[in-house]
């Protein structure tokens, strides 16, 4: 019987260790999701956040040479300037929702390390007026290469 007890005791020690591992994992890597107004109310520098909002129309600048991407995220009440290094990802555009992960920099902007563009599920009838842009693109590229 004492062998069984030892097993139970040993098992409990391991379970406790695993519990601690999970607990410390959560406290170390949990990332809070904030809106621009929540972030600006109490910005903590160098703490990782996920910031979600609308990419303000007219705020997007992208310099291909230096890969500098900057835009403003807004929730209607507050606006946060965001900087990122890298090409704008698929599904990312002005006037659309985006979530960025990164930290508040001392310079007064949000330095994003990751952009998660939001996929809109809206139904869009195909071939409706949205593609002349593609047609034109097709033409301009064909003219150049052929």
């Amino acid at each position: 019987m004492s062998t069984q007890r030892k097993f139970v005791a040993g098992g409990l020690v391991i379970v406790a260790a695993l519990g601690y591992l999970i607990w410390s994992g959560v406290t170390q890597s949990v990332v809070y999701f904030v809106t621009p107004s929540e972030l600006l109310a109490a910005p903590v520098a160098n703490k990782t956040y996920r910031l979600g909002g609308l990419v303000l129309p007219g705020s997007l600048t992208w310099d291909a040479k230096s890969l500098a991407l900057s835009f403003t995220l807004s929730d209607g009440k507050a606006q946060v300037p965001v900087r990122h290094r890298g090409a704008p990802p698929d599904l990312f555009a002005e006037g659309r929702g985006a979530v960025v992960e990164g930290a508040w920099a001392r310079g007064g902007y949000f330095q994003a390390s990751l952009i998660l563009a939001k996929h809109s599920e809206e139904y869009k009838a195909p071939h409706d007026g949205a593609d002349p842009g593609y047609k034109e693109l097709l033409k301009s590229l064909r003219g150049k290469d052929k």
């Binding site: 098992g11 949990v30 904030v34 890298g86 659309r96 301009s140 590229l141």
Partner: protein
């Protein structure tokens, strides 16, 4: 017309499943065989009806019948032929049909195989299977009807999600669902054994083999999913701890735990209660995974739909778990262990630890997946726990499992002597230490990578040692080299099938560790004629071209890749513009290699074709993931073959 026929088949199927399940119960309670035959005929009828649903849906897709809403949403006139077939399971409603269809096939197999062999358990097994089928047919009738009409009928459909236009989508969902549904068979047998009160050994053997079958398909599904993620999504990774991936990974973990702990029950008559719990958990997790991914409760890269379907799944999950655990509680007295543990240094305790760690990993994945939900519900705070959490907690657990994988198969049952330990483990341990030391000398500094590599070598050492001994023993009894080496795999297919699976895991571990530690990437903008360099590869941008495909426009970049040895290759990454999508989708181009893959993604570009932003990655050892996966599935297939130790 098709919609009406399909809907009628679904509803009739649902009624038939309920009726068949009840007929089975009546048959066994009254001892009347004709009721049982009724139940069997219901199972056959349901299979025919669901097959008809599949055929009708396929016909609707191939003839562009946009009066069926599901067809209109998932295809359009430009969708290539193959993807009109796979579009069948490209979204929620169709995948439920596929699910139900596979379940009906498994049910038929149960009828054919066990009606004579397991007369006592069989009626209950059939009833449970029909009950599960009834649930899926109910889902097809009310919350997710695949044959819903669309009115007015649109001139063209919306089109398949472009990311699903890939050959991986032909096999990935099929394998995954064969895995998911496969776990219903062990569950049904477990329920039957509890109801009948026959918790002996026979059913557990049947259950074990069915679990390997389901496990085999689930592994295959996960691997193909990883491959799809790697070569379609264009982020250079294969696993993101996305809720959808986690949903499929959790039953895999508990299924793995069961496949190990069942050996203790077979050998030592212990852990009966625990094994039943694992079967129930595994089945529950397949339902939970579907709930998680299909209810839209968690925002995921590919969490697909919303609606009342989540409620149905949650209710059925609650019902199944409640029923199963009540039965378990009712039969506890049958489930007392007949053996007991002797020593902490024994195979039993290694298996127990293995189970403990696998369950811990399952819990971690579960917790990390639902934590954002809990946090928002309980405290109103929106949080996310991403890959860092899963990696931080799971890497130590997986390393520990890797270690146990080396120890378990060779350590003695009951109590291992110092002699046994020295004989089996001294050389492999030394090999592991030497491997780590050599890697350290070559400049590998990452402790996790060193540990992983040392463990891989250690486990490979134990497998080689054991297999070598067995081969030499066969040689002494007169076999030739090939007969001894290959014949052994077949003669003791259960043991060595397991070894081959372990080898596969080792190769995968190598791939994961290598790709995490040594992959490189760079992002830059190139003018025409300019090059980017990374790890000895030079990639030159030669220009852009555009083309019109059947259902999208495509802008393709031309790149020339050269290495130091002046060999070169053309890389053609592209961006595809689908009319039904708001933004373009990247198509990666890559060259796979034994040691490293070159992986090129086209990003933003100038409309005149003079400039392009690219992401270049050199991903190390990723190919070994797919090779390891292949080895693993071969091993599982070997273990499924009939057991040769006992005369059949």
């Amino acid at each position: 017309m098709i919609a009406e026929l399909g809907y009628a088949a679904t509803v009739v199927g649902f009624v038939l499943a309920l009726y068949g399940a009840m007929a089975g119960v009546i048959g066994v309670r009254t001892g009347r065989a004709d009721w049982l035959r009724t139940s069997e005929r219901a199972a056959v009828g349901i299979w025919i009806l669901i097959t008809a649903c599949m055929a009708l849906m396929l016909y609707a897709f191939l003839t562009f019948d946009f009066s069926v809403r599901y067809v209109a949403m998932n295809t359009n006139r430009g969708t290539p032929f193959y993807y009109r077939i796979t579009a069948l399971w490209g979204a929620l409603e169709g995948s439920i049909v596929l699910w139900a269809w596979m379940l009906s096939i498994y049910t038929l197999i149960v009828v054919v195989r066990y009606r004579r062999r397991q007369p006592e358990l069989y009626p209950w097994v059939l009833s449970v299977m029909l009950g599960i089928l009834a649930f899926f047919l109910l889902v097809m009738s009310i919350p997710a009807p695949p044959f819903e009409r669309l009115s007015p009928i649109p001139p063209d459909g919306r089109g398949l999600n472009p990311l699903l236009e890939d050959s991986g989508m032909i096999t990935h969902p099929v394998a995954l669902y064969l895995g998911f549904t496969g776990f219903s068979v062990p569950f049904a047998f477990a329920m039957a054994a509890l109801i009948v009160g026959r918790t002996g050994d026979e059913w557990i053997t049947i259950t074990r083999r069915w679990t390997i079958v389901a496990w085999y398909f689930l592994s295959l599904g996960l691997l193909i999913g990883g491959w799809w993620s790697y070569h379609v999504l264009g982020w250079g990774g294969y696993w993101a701890w996305d809720p959808v991936e986690n949903a499929a990974f959790m039953p895999w973990l508990t299924g793995t735990a069961f496949l190990h702990s069942v050996m203790i029950q077979e050998r030592r008559r212990m852990l009966k209660l625990w094994n039943l719990t694992l079967i129930i958990l595994t089945f529950g997790l397949t339902l939970f995974g579907t709930f998680l991914t299909r209810s839209g409760i968690i925002g995921s890269v590919h969490s697909f739909t919303q609606g009342s379907i989540g409620v149905f799944f949650l209710a059925f999950l609650a019902l199944a778990l409640l029923g199963a655990f009540s039965l378990l509680a009712w039969r506890t007295d049958h489930l007392r262990a007949q053996g007991e543990l002797d020593s902490a240094v024994s195979r039993e305790s290694v298996f127990l630890l293995n189970n403990l760690f696998l369950i811990a990993a399952t819990f971690t994945v579960f917790f990390g997946t639902v934590f954002p939900l809990l946090s928002e519900a309980a405290r109103g705070v929106k949080v996310s726990v991403g890959a860092p959490f899963f990696n931080l907690v799971n890497i130590p657990i997986f390393l520990a499992l890797l270690f146990l994988m080396g120890v378990g198969p060779l350590i003695a049952w009951r109590r291992a002597s110092a002699e046994n330990l020295k004989r089996n483990f001294l050389k492999p341990v030394l090999a592991g230490i030497v491997a780590a030391a050599v890697l350290r000398l070559f400049g590998v500094g990452n402790v996790l990578v060193l540990t992983a590599m040392a463990l891989v070598v250690f486990v490979a050492g134990t497998i080689t040692l054991d297999y070598g001994r067995a081969v030499r023993a066969r040689r002494r009894s007169g076999d030739g080299w090939s007969a001894a080496t290959w014949g052994l795999l077949l003669r003791q297919n259960r043991r060595y099938g397991g070894f081959v699976v372990h080898l596969g895991i080792l190769v995968i571990a190598l791939g994961v560790a290598g790709s995490q530690a040594w992959s490189l990437q760079t992002e830059t903008t190139l003018e025409k004629g300019q090059s980017v360099e990374l790890a000895g590869y030079r990639v030159r941008f030669d220009g852009l071209s555009a083309s019109e495909e059947s259902n999208h426009f495509k802008v393709t970049g031309a790149f020339t890749m050269t290495t130091g040895r002046s060999s070169f290759a053309e890389l053609r990454p592209a961006r595809k513009f689908y009319p039904q999508e708001q933004t373009p989708i990247a198509a990666v181009d890559y060259r796979l290699g034994w040691v490293e893959d070159v992986y090129l993604v086209l990003g933003d570009f100038a409309r005149d074709g003079s400039r392009a932003t690219v992401k270049l990655q050199v991903n190390r050892l990723v190919s070994w993931l797919w090779i390891g996966g292949l080895v693993l599935t071969l091993g599982a297939a070997l273990a499924i073959l009939p057991d040769h130790r006992k005369p059949a």
